[in-house]
Structure formats: structure tokens, C-alpha cells
Amino acid sequence: MRKELLKYGMQTLTKNILDRMYASMLRIRMFEEKIVELYPEQEMKCPVHLCIGQEAIAAGVCLNLKKDDYVFSNHRGHGHCLAKGSPMRPLFAEFYGKATGCSKGKGGSMHLVDAERGILGTSAIVGGGIPMGVGASLASMLKNEERVTAIFFGDGAYDEGAFYESFNFASLKKLPVVFVCENNFYATNSHQSARQPGCRISDTAAAFDAHGVCVDGNDVIAVYKAARDSVSRAARGGGPSLIEAKTYRWKGHVGPEADFDKGSRPKEELDYWVERCPVKAFRAFLLEKNVTTPKEMDEVASAIKAEIDDAVSFARASPYPEAKELLEDLYI
């Protein structure tokens, strides 16, 4: 195992970290699969953007973050919150529109928040969260806090002007921020090649005098390594990085179903990526290298299952917000 890890230049990768990578990815996968199972009941009355297939990015990045580091996410944000450590109860309750939801039922699945863990709200305007993430990192700099901000966004958000303006500002001010572009090749049904002539997202960083790197977003160790490098660069005043992590979403843009049968994408493409499942591949790696036993893995899975069951029952049993809450929370 040591030899394999050295291949990644990760002499310090411990069993503990590797196990946490696995647990984090599996937790996201099982959480999303639970939504797939329950969504047809139509009790979760809000759009859901699932990240099945993309789990390695959230897991690999967030394992490098401290509890009070900031994370800014997007419409496809369940995985980011879970990886940052958010408990499941307020998330499920939010999907169910309950008063106990993380946003008290006012946000829905696209507007998650967990200020205690550095998630200062989530924008569902494509690219909209990027400036705010840079602003939060500016605040950290001005307050002399040792805090790094990670901003997750898609290849679609890379099309938006907000990205360039923000990245430029972050590099100009050498802010402690890591831009994580989850390149799943699609923005709804539009392929990256239909929107971008170059398809070399990470190369953009060079023009802004910043660090850019492109990694296999389905390889959790590769993501972890890139993020560790970028987070420590940010923390020591080296400015922002742009990590482009290539991956694929298995489900349709929104909702629990696959979309290839609607003609959105070729089935072969999905098959190719399912074959390269980040969770399955990492599980095989851990077993092959004798890092983790199947029994340990089963224990992880049953703990996650228990957490999910508890959170779903909690969400279902929770009350809806009262009508009077409609007019509350607008102004301080």
C-alpha cells in the first residue's frame, strides 16, 4: 500500500484519512439514493439535483477543510454539505419543507445552509455563489482569520461572467480561496463542447496568474491531493487555485431519473462512467490494498443507513412552518 500511495506523492495518507474518504463518499451516495427511492412519493415537494457519480469531489475537497472553513455551493449541493459535515436531519427536513429544515422550510433543496460548519448559504443562480465565496474569503483576510473558502461550481457556471470577475479579484488580492469546478460535461442538456471552444477550464488560471490543475474527479485520492495542495497554498497566502475535476452525473439534471432515454445523452456515455464509479473503484482499491476490511465497510454502511432512517423519520414527523412564518425573516 505504501508504494501505491507514494505514487500519489502522499506519504502521509493514513488509514484514517482513507477510511474517511470512503465513508464520506458512501454517505453522499446512500443519501442521494434514498432521495431516488422516496421522491416518487411526492412528499419532497421541491426540485432535487442529485450528485450521484460525483461524490469523490465533495469528499476529496472537504476532507482538507476545517470545521470553520467556508464552503459555497450550488443547486447540486447536497454532497457538499454532507462532506462538510452537515447532519442529515436538517437537510431532509428542508427537502420536506418542514420548520426544522436547515432554512426553516424557506429554501428547499437548492438553498442549503449550515453556518456552524461554514456553509453560508447556497445560490441556485448559476455562478451566483462564486462572488459571495470570494467575499467571504476577503472577510477572512481582512479579519486576519486562518480560514480557507472552497467554492463549488459546475462547468456551466464557468460560462458565466461572475466567474471571471471573481477569479480575477481573488487572484489580485491573493485571497485564501479554492475554486472547485465540477466538470460533469453538461449544463442541463447542453454539452460543454456546445458552450466552450477550448474545454480547458483549469488552463484559465494561468491568465490570472493563479494556480490551475485538472484532475480525474472520480479518483478521490487525486481530488484530495489537488485540494490539499490548493488549500495549503491558499492558507499560506499563495492566492486562489482553480481545480477542474472531471466527472459525470448519473441522473438527469434534475429529479431522480436517468435522462438518456429522453435523448439527452447517449446511454453508452453513462455506461462508461458508471463503470468508473468513484465509490466502487475506491472500495476495490481499499480492499486490494488491505486498508479496510469488508466487515469495516459494512459497519460504515449500516451506520449511514441508520443515520438516513433517523433523518427521514425526523423530517416526516416534523411540523410544517406556520403560516405566520411567511412574513418573518425578511429584515433583521
Binding site: A115, A139, L142, I332
Partner: protein, 347 residues
């Protein structure tokens, strides 16, 4: 209270000042500069950001020299990226700072609408009150000298439409200073709109730090025959009109609205109940503007008190032209207010 007075010009103010020793006079621009300076000095979470806030002109003098005193981290120049820089200020506010963001002209703010409308205005409600956006966006209305269509707009109505924002338009130096502090400490996103023609106005401004409450209008001139609600620069035109009308025996009550959102409906209704006549003079266009809103509220809550149809004084329904000949025709002033008031009196 001397500082609730409106002085038509510097000479008029200086005449009064001579009669009231012990009171200090400042221009509107100096009042804004002093407010920012005092907050920067007393609160490390306050910082100023915007294009050219550290240049020698200092945003028409309102930020002049602040970067030398407080450093370029706290008085921060920004790239020409209005949308992102607005979002950056929103993010910094959510993360515990109190940014004062300056967009030199309201005309540049259409580029920032995503961050203002979709983010700043929503960030508290959308997360069930768990986060706040203590942000002030200062912006400036131009007028005259051929500034034309893209450097002279009055877009207060756009912002006033949005729940979650507050919109402030002070007209006097005293209010400029006190409302800027109130805005910085309000805790909500406040759009603070200044008018270039106000910068040279003088008035009494205490040296110590103080606030003027957001959401409260003020009667600048009591009267019994007609209510004139003025906004920003139009407060001065309204005062001139009131004086002129007094010469004809018509006694106007002039209200300075000061805040567009939330609107001080109560003060206006009180006044209309007394006068039965209403004219609103705004610096912007007529359609769906503050005047429309004020008159609607009066109709909803005090219809029976209106003795005549209410009137509005606004810009004509076209963009600003450049030629001085057309500009002259474009901008309404005291004369238009006078004739609007007379119409409500059937004259």
C-alpha cells in the same frame, strides 16, 4: 432643531450660521466623508470598497484621503467588475463585515442586479433568518452637463420594488451623515442613493457620530393647503415651489421622504388628512415609481380625505438627452411643482 432645516443654497445657510454661533456647517459631501471616517475609525468590521474610492478625487470628495488614513485594505479600490464586486461585498457582509460599497453612478448598477436582487435581498429570508447581509451600497445620481442617457439615471424605483432591500435617499448634509451610519448598522442591505447636485449643499452637522432613522420621512415645512412629497434633490425644488406659492396665498406642507423603502406612509397620510391635496416630486421616471406607490397608499388608506386628484412631477418618459436645450426641457423643477399644486387646487 436647526439641522432639520433645509437651506436652499450655501449663502442662505451662511446667513443662518452667523445667527447661530456654536453650530457647525458641513457640505453634504463632507458629511458623508465624516460619517465614513468615523465608522472606519471606530469599527474594524467597516470597510469601503469600489472603483476609485482611493483616487485623488475620492468619489466627488466623499472618500477623499480615507485610504491614506486607514490603509488600502480598508479603503479598497476594485477592478471594473460591478457584479462580482457587489457579490464580494455581499459575501463579506454575510461573513461578518460591514462593507460600504460604492458604485459611482446608479447607471452602473444594472450590472449588479443579480447580486443585489437574487443574493443580497434574499439571503436572510431564503435561509430562514439564519444569515444577515449588513451591507450598504452607495450610489450616485448625475444630472446635467450632457451626462446623457447612461450617466444620469434615477433608478431608485428598481430597488424599491424588491423585498429584502432598503432604499435611502437623503437630501440634507445632516441626514446624509446620520442615515449613512444608520444604514451601515441597519443589518440589512441598504441602497443609499445620493444626488450630485446635493454635494455642495450646506447644513448644520454635529461633529459627534449619530444616526437618523431609516424609514422616517420629515416635514420640512408645515402647511395646510397641499402636501408636497419631495425626494432627494426634488426636496429643494419643492421648498422653492412652496415659497413661491406662499406668495400667492397657498400654504404647502413639504415632506422630505428620505427613505423610499420602507416608506413612511403614516407621515404622508397624516399630512393629506390635513391638506386634502397631494403632489409627489421625484427625481426619476413616473411609471411604477415612488410617486405611484405614495398615491396608491393614500388612495388605499385615505381616499376620502382627498379633495382633488393627486399629481406627480417626474422626468419625461424618455432617456436623458445630452444637448443643453433638451436637458432644459427634460428636468422638472419648482415651476412644475407650482403648477401641479395649482392643479390640485383647480387653478
Amino acid at each position: 432643531m436647526p439641522w432639520t432645516k433645509v437651506y436652499g443654497n450655501k449663502a442662505e445657510f451662511e446667513k443662518h450660521l452667523a445667527g447661530e454661533p456654536g453650530l457647525r456647517g458641513l457640505t453634504y459631501r463632507e458629511a458623508l466623508l465624516e460619517a465614513a471616517s468615523q465608522m472606519l475609525a471606530s469599527d474594524p468590521s467597516v470597510f469601503v470598497i469600489g472603483e476609485g474610492v482611493d483616487d485623488s478625487g475620492g468619489v466627488f470628495g466623499t472618500t477623499k484621503g480615507l485610504h491614506q488614513r486607514f490603509g488600502k485594505d480598508r479603503v479598497m479600490d476594485s477592478p471594473l467588475a460591478e457584479n462580482a464586486v457587489t457579490g464580494i461585498a455581499v459575501g463579506a457582509a454575510v461573513a461578518g463585515m460591514r462593507p460600504i460599497l460604492v458604485h459611482m453612478r446608479v447607471d452602473f448598477m444594472p450590472l449588479t442586479m443579480d447580486q443585489i436582487i437574487n443574493h443580497a435581498a434574499k439571503w436572510r429570508y431564503m435561509f430562514g433568518g439564519k444569515l444577515n447581509v449588513p451591507l450598504v451600497i452607495r450610489s450616485i445620481v448625475g444630472r446635467g452637463w450632457g451626462s446623457a442617457a447612461q450617466h444620469s439615471q434615477n433608478l431608485q424605483a428598481l430597488f424599491a420594488h424588491i423585498p429584502g432591500l432598503k432604499v435611502v435617499m437623503p437630501s440634507t448634509p445632516f441626514d446624509a451623515k446620520g442615515l449613512l451610519k444608520a444604514s451601515v448598522y441597519d443589518g440589512n442591505p441598504v441602497i443609499f442613493i445620493e444626488h450630485r447636485w446635493l454635494y455642495e449643499h450646506m447644513g448644520h452637522v454635529p461633529e459627534e457620530s449619530y444616526t437618523v432613522p431609516i424609514g422616517k420621512g420629515i416635514v420640512r415645512r408645515p402647511g395646510k393647503d397641499a402636501t408636497v412629497v419631495g425626494i432627494s434633490h426634488m426636496v429643494y425644488e419643492s421648498m422653492k415651489a412652496a415659497e413661491e406659492l406662499m406668495g400667492e396665498g397657498i400654504d404647502c406642507e413639504v415632506i422630505d421622504l428620505r427613505t423610499i423603502r420602507p416608506m413612511d406612509t403614516g407621515l404622508i397620510i397624516e399630512s393629506v388628512k390635513k391638506t386634502g391635496r397631494l403632489v409627489v416630486a421625484d427625481t426619476g421616471w413616473k411609471d411604477c415609481g415612488p410617486g405611484s406607490e405614495i398615491i396608491t397608499r393614500v388612495v388605499e388608506e385615505a381616499f376620502g380625505f382627498l379633495k382633488a386628484p393627486a399629481r406627480r412631477v417626474n422626468l419625461p418618459d424618455v432617456p436623458t438627452p445630452a444637448s443643453p436645450a433638451l436637458e432644459k426641457a427634460y428636468y422638472p423643477g419648482a415651476a412644475d411643482i407650482v403648477s401641479a399644486v395649482k392643479k390640485t387646487l383647480g387653478k
